[in-house]
């Protein structure tokens, strides 16, 4: 243990004394190793565990007396173990914060007690005892550099005639400790060997490179990079010699564009931030702050968001053109006799440029001089359809990429030696190494730069070495070579041959990409050769099932070309292009690209065909096929909101409506898929309803294909928010097929869509009657268990809607639906909770159901949901609580039994959400019916809180608030308190509301308040009498009575007043 601790563990700073173990992964694993050793020690070696240490191990602990249980004597804060050594010392003694331990058995017990603080304890123990062996066995066993003779000494002792058992145990203990030591040491050695070692040259090169990106222009990466010292020692270091011994090479001050000046130490162990070394270092400034990075770029990337961003977008230029820059000659004679060859010839040329660039860089590697070209900037994707420009742009991109690549190779060159070594060994492989290498390099860059807008995109994974590439790889590479260097005949042969590979296999897909096949395939799309285009698209269509390929196609501007092909007169070409777009447009950026290049409009145009006539000519059938492919592409694209708009604007809706009449499932699936995707938009929902699509959707619910059924149900689910849509579904007899689909419980997606449709349809009471007739409720109750959440949300939603009818409440109860519903109240899914509370609340209106809910402690669960942070859940729970209080036996007692429950609900009156406030007011009105509870909530200050809410215009809130106020007036001096809190005047204004329900509740509240003379005066001042007299004329008896009562009170006060004056 001793050797490992001194050598392997990373102690902070070089200064000795009570050092701290740094928090590094290496130390963590070391500590873990020691921890598990100690933990298992008493079980594995019970005898040795009892051995009493020479000196106690003592450290500051975070444990407290309360952590210890049996076998310990606890007195106040200190703890003493019952186990004692021979001289009566306790083996463990805790007097906070110090703890001392005398045996391994106690140590391992202690760790068991420590639970999640185990590592912390081990850490502080080792920090306090840097050589624990000394404490355990005695100072003669201290770890010394060089030869370790402790074992020999012990052996001598044994030999020397000290046969006591103790020595034997000691020997064993020592051996065990040394075993641990070797184990720990070897595991940390493994880590150390992987560690990077930087050299002064490597650092210098990287600094030089970064300096070339500094400046004042807009496209700079950094403001400045400077050494702290201009003096360079002969060994290349710039740090003072006494720091060089710590492996430090130099110190930098880097001014980035978005952070404070970064003070950086470059040491052989890596690069890290220091305490701010400017010109002359103070000792404390040398300390490391933060993590160690393997090179400067990665440090800067993690500290400067701007830097990382710029480097990822490659949006930067070399600030000062270095004099050594050489133009790379672009001369390469290629015979481009044949039309349609130019693209390929061009590609060829580009490739050569890359090769040259690479060749040039290779020799200059160690020197690392700047020979970068300034890269032209091509920003924005708004590219007009002109082929010329597209080509030009491509060229620009490539040029840019090549510069970037060379920059990366350069950065690579400055990386640590060990890396370089690995690369050399790789480059000793015969073929393909150079391009592979640069690719790997580029990937390393892109790996850390996740594009923030591409949420669906998976990160790249690629096998590190190219040693065991499959044979397909080489064959594909060869074919790509023929693609590049062949005329259309050779190209077609190569394309056909490539299709014979299993293109669904990832190795083949990635092989095509890795050998540069994607570029060629995409370039072929821009030629005039129809056959080459078809062949290329057939391959792209297959391989674009892979997300990495999709991304690469989008990066290579393939979508733009494919969109252009949609204009082609050749129908096969259109189909393939649309299908490929359908595959590629699976992520947001691609969908945006399609839209921005006019793809949506063209795809919508493809939909124009005659889908349903009985006898189609061959040509018409081909049109149908084109339309199908167009629908597929639109389906993919329709996942973006803007695209939904674009489809609508391009006139897609009537075309989709026409295709919906098609009898073919393979046409219907993409069409309905698109529609259900778009149905999230209001405009589509209206269109689906008015264009008569509901009928077709309903019809297809009864088809054979589950996928189609699912999309139809899902479309209905989204559209049935609207009442007339619900009625249409009923009119076209869609409810029965929906109920029938409930039996397909295996297909969860279908089930989720079906239950969703049923939920939304059941919002109409007429539909509920039909569902009742089809016995849907029993089935739905059966679905309350063992279903995924998306199904449950819908099932419970449907039950909640159905339970608004009394008969259904009975059905739910009889088919045993209440226990699972109450059970779901313990869930966490917010959408589910909103629906469950609604359903439980609906059931609670029936006394028998309420009895079950009460028995299952459902009200307590509902009440605890008031603590949920989501206002929807809060309000839904509060609404559900109202019928519970109304129908529960001994409701008052029940409510009081919830500890802190009343305070909780009163405090919700501080919410800012109108619905929450309304629901809580309703609950308070119910709670206040119980006098004792009313007293409690009054104590919690309900009166001023309600009074504060009176100034609002929300009728729902007004009504419930007025009810709550009316109820709360019943206690003590609350009437007066309301008046003093200024609640009366706003209440009078409620009578001017248009909602009769508000009038009733308000009149009741005013009637209660009018029993206090001062309130009567306020009311009168606010002109209440005229309003109340109007109210008295209403048909609502309750309202009449309350108004009349209030007026009577006011009148009585006036009379009493007069009487007092004249008598």
């Amino acid at each position: 243990m001793g050797v490992a601790l001194t050598r392997a563990a990373q102690w902070t700073t070089a200064s000795s004394g009570t050092g701290k173990l740094e928090i590094t992964p290496q130390n963590a694993s070391l500590l873990k190793e020691i921890q598990s050793f100690v933990e298992q020690f008493s079980a594995r070696h019970p005898q040795e565990a009892k051995h009493v240490f020479k000196e106690p191990l003592q450290w500051k602990t975070s444990l407290e007396a309360s952590d210890f249980k049996t076998e310990y004597d606890i007195s106040g804060v200190s703890v003493v173990s019952r186990e004692k050594d021979m001289s009566g010392r306790p083996l463990l003694h805790l007097s906070p914060p110090l703890i001392s331990v005398l045996s391994f058995s106690q140590l391992s017990k202690l760790l068991q007690v420590a639970n999640e603080r185990k590592l912390k304890e081990v850490r502080s123990c080792l920090e306090a005892n840097r050589d624990p062996v000394v404490q355990i066995l005695g100072p003669s066993f201290a770890t010394v550099e060089g030869e370790d003779s402790s074992v020999l000494r012990l052996l001598e002792k044994v030999k020397g005639g000290d046969p006591s058992e103790e020595t034997e145990v000691k020997v064993k203990l020592l051996i065990l400790l040394q075993q641990l030591d070797t184990q720990v040491l070897s595991s940390s050695l493994k880590q150390i060997s992987q560690e990077v070692r930087l050299s002064p040259t490597a650092v210098k090169n990287e600094v030089e490179l970064l300096k070339s990106f500094c400046g004042s222009g807009e496209k700079r990466l950094l403001k400045s990079v400077n050494y702290t010292s201009d003096y360079e020692f002969s060994n290349g270091c710039r740090s003072p010699p006494w720091r060089q011994v710590h492996g430090e090479i130099c110190y930098l001050m880097v001014e980035s564009c978005d952070t404070d000046t970064l003070y950086i130490t470059c040491s052989t162990a890596g690069i890290f931030l220091n305490g701010g070394i400017k010109q002359e270092g103070e000792e404390s400034a040398y300390d490391r702050i933060g993590d160690v990075y393997k090179d400067l770029v990665s440090l800067l990337k993690s500290h400067s968001a701007y830097f990382a961003n710029q480097i990822n977008t490659q949006d930067f230029v070399v600030q000062e053109e270095p004099p050594s820059t050489q133009k790379i000659p672009h001369v390469e004679s290629v015979d481009a006799e044949e039309p349609g060859q130019t693209q390929r010839a061009y590609e060829h040329q580009e490739k050569n440029v890359h090769d040259r660039a690479r060749q040039q860089l290779a020799p200059s590697k160690p020197g690392g001089k700047k020979n970068l070209e300034p890269s032209p900037k091509w920003k924005g994707l708004g590219l007009p359809s002109g082929q010329q420009e597209a080509e030009e742009k491509k060229k620009g991109k490539k040029a840019e990429k090549s510069t970037e690549k060379s920059a990366e190779t350069q950065a690579k060159a400055t990386r640590p030696d060990s890396r370089k070594k690995a690369e050399f060994s790789r480059s000793s492989l015969p073929v393909h190494q150079s391009s592979q290498k640069t690719k790997v390099a580029v990937d390393e860059f892109s790996e850390s730069s996740s594009e923030s807008d591409e949420d669906e995109e998976t990160p790249e994974r690629r096998p590190e070495s190219n040693t065991d590439l499959p044979s397909e790889y080489w064959q594909i590479q060869k074919l790509v070579k023929y693609l590049k260097g062949g005329n259309q005949t050779a190209t077609v042969i190569a394309l056909c041959s490539m299709r014979d590979f299993n293109l669904a296999q990832e190795t083949c897909q990635l092989a095509i990409r890795d050998v540069g096949g994607l570029e060629v395939l995409i370039n072929l799309l821009a030629t005039e050769e129809i056959k080459c285009k078809i062949g290329s698209l057939k391959i792209l269509k297959e391989i674009s099932h892979n997300s990495q390929i999709r991304r690469a196609i989008a990066d290579l501007a393939g979508l733009q070309t494919m969109v252009c092909i949609l204009d082609s007169p050749d129908k096969e070409l259109k189909c393939l292009s649309a299908e490929t777009i359908a595959n590629v447009a699976k992520f947001r950026r691609a969908r945006r690209t399609v839209r921005q290049h006019g793809g949506i409009k063209r795809l919508v145009e493809l939909l124009d065909c005659v889908p349903d006539s009985a006898a189609l000519t061959a040509e018409q059938e081909r049109d149908v096929e084109v339309a199908r492919c167009g629908a597929l592409a639109l389906w993919s694209c329709s996942k973006s909101t803007r695209n939904k708009d674009a489809i609508r604007r391009a006139g897609g809706i009537p075309l989709l409506a026409r295709l919906l009449k098609s009898p073919h499932e393979d046409m219907l699936i993409p069409v309905v898929g698109t529609l259900q995707e778009c149905a999230s938009e209001e405009s589509y929902r209206v269109a689906i309803q008015t264009e008569g699509m509901i009928e077709d959707l309903v019809k297809n619910l009864s088809c054979e294909n589950q996928e189609l059924q699912m999309h139809c149900a899902s479309a209905i689910f989204k559209c049935a928010e609207d009442k007339s849509t619900r009625d249409l579904v009923r009119r076209y007899e869609g409810l029965q097929p929906l109920v029938r689909l409930l039996s397909e419980a295996e297909n969860k997606h279908l089930l989720a869509a079906t239950t969703g449709a049923i939920w939304k349809c059941s919002i109409s009471i007429e539909n509920v009657a039909l569902f009742q007739e089809y016995h849907a409720l029993e089935t739905l109750v059966g679905l309350l268990m063992n279903q995924p959440e998306e199904v449950l949300v819908n099932v419970v939603g449907a039950l909640g809607e159905c339970a608004q009818k009394p008969a259904n409440r009975t059905t739910i109860r009889k088919s045993g639906g209440i226990p699972p519903l109450v059970n779901l109240l313990t869930g966490t899914n917010q959408a589910l909770l909103v629906n469950v509370t609604r359903a439980v609340g609906a059931c609670a209106t029936e006394p028998e159901s309420m009895a079950i809910i009460d028995r299952l402690d459902g009200v307590r669960l509902l009440w605890s949901l008031l603590k949920n942070p989501n206002p929807d859940v809060q309000s839904s729970a509060a609404w559900a609580i109202c019928p519970c209080i109304e129908n529960a036996k001994d409701a008052g007692e029940m409510v009081r039994s919830f500890v802190g429950g009343l305070e909780l609900i009163v405090n919700l009156l501080k919410s800012t959400n109108g619905e929450v406030l309304a629901s809580v007011c309703a609950s308070i009105a119910k709670i206040a019916k119980d006098e004792e509870n009313l007293a409690v909530i009054t104590d919690h200050g309900v009166v001023p809180m309600l009074a504060k809410l009176t100034d609002n215009t929300d009728d729902k809130l007004r009504r419930n608030l007025a009810e709550a106020i009316a109820r709360c007036c019943m206690w003590g001096t609350n009437r007066v308190a309301f008046g003093e809190a200024g609640a009366v005047a706003p209440l009078v204004r409620y009578l001017r509301s248009k909602d009769p329900c508000v009038h009733q509740a308000t009149a009741q509240a005013l009637f209660q308040l009018s029993r206090d003379p001062n309130n009567c005066i306020t009311m009168h001042e606010n002109g209440v009498v005229k309003l109340l007299i109007e109210m008295m004329g209403s048909n609502d008896e309750v309202l009449q009575e309350a108004s009349a009562g209030c007026v009577a009170n006011i009148r009585r006060l006036a009379l009493a007043n007069e009487k007092a004056r004249y008598s």
Binding site: E337, Y482, G486, T489, V492, G535
Partner: protein
């Protein structure tokens, strides 16, 4: 003169009538147009050897100018495919029959036609050597390559692997037909010998519409 041209017209109409019955894809008017075009192309040649038809040079000229073909060897083979009686002239009947496949052939007809074009020695098989011969200019020669023919040889092997279903090292008509049916792109596997859609459209417009207007 007018009498002669009237008689000529009558002759042409009769010929068109018979030919349009024999040849699948053209109606009488179209056949008539094509005959006129043929006569026009014949031009002064007719004076000397009436009835012989278009010679190799003239025909190749048409292929090159109208249909954009470039490969000399393939153009030669197309001429032979048109010239069914092997008399080194494309007669009016051969012209119409040939164009029927060339412009409007069904897949079956085109397979047959292409096979005939590619079967250089007419022995009913496309051999390795024939393929090599036809593909030898299809790859750009890299100056660095040691054996410039290696790529072509490899391409031939790839093609055989793909199309030679009976594994006898050469393509029979059955092999060719099967491969093309599986993958239509292989129809013109050894060189362009059919016009593309654009030039067909241009030619038909030129042949069928303009003469009628005049």
């Amino acid at each position: 003169m007018s009498e002669m041209s009237a008689m000529n017209r009558k002759l042409i109409q009769n010929l068109a009538e018979t030919l349009s019955r024999q040849v699948k894809h053209f109606n009488k008017t179209e056949a008539e147009c094509l005959i006129r075009l043929f006569n026009g192309l014949l031009g002064d040649q007719t004076d000397k050897r009436v009835g012989n038809g278009l010679d190799r040079g003239k025909f190749r000229n048409i292929l090159h100018k109208t249909f954009g073909m470039t490969d000399d060897m393939i153009m030669d083979r197309v001429f032979r495919a048109f010239d069914k009686d092997n008399d080194s002239y494309v007669a009016v009947k051969e012209w119409i029959e040939g164009l029927s496949v060339f412009l409007r052939g069904t897949l079956d007809e085109k397979i047959k036609y292409c096979f005939d074009v590619y079967d250089l020695n007419g022995d009913g098989y496309i051999s390795r050597e024939e393929m090599f011969h036809m593909l030898k200019n299809s790859l750009i020669r890299q100056p660095t390559e040691e054996d410039p023919d290696e790529g072509i040889k490899d391409l031939v092997e790839i093609t055989l692997k793909k199309m030679d279903h009976d594994h006898d090292g050469r393509l029979s008509y059955a092999d060719f037909e099967k491969a093309v049916r599986e993958e239509n792109l292989l129809l013109e596997a050894f060189g362009t010998c059919l016009p593309d859609a654009k030039s067909i459209q241009a030619f038909e417009q030129h042949a069928f519409q303009e003469p009628l207007e005049s």
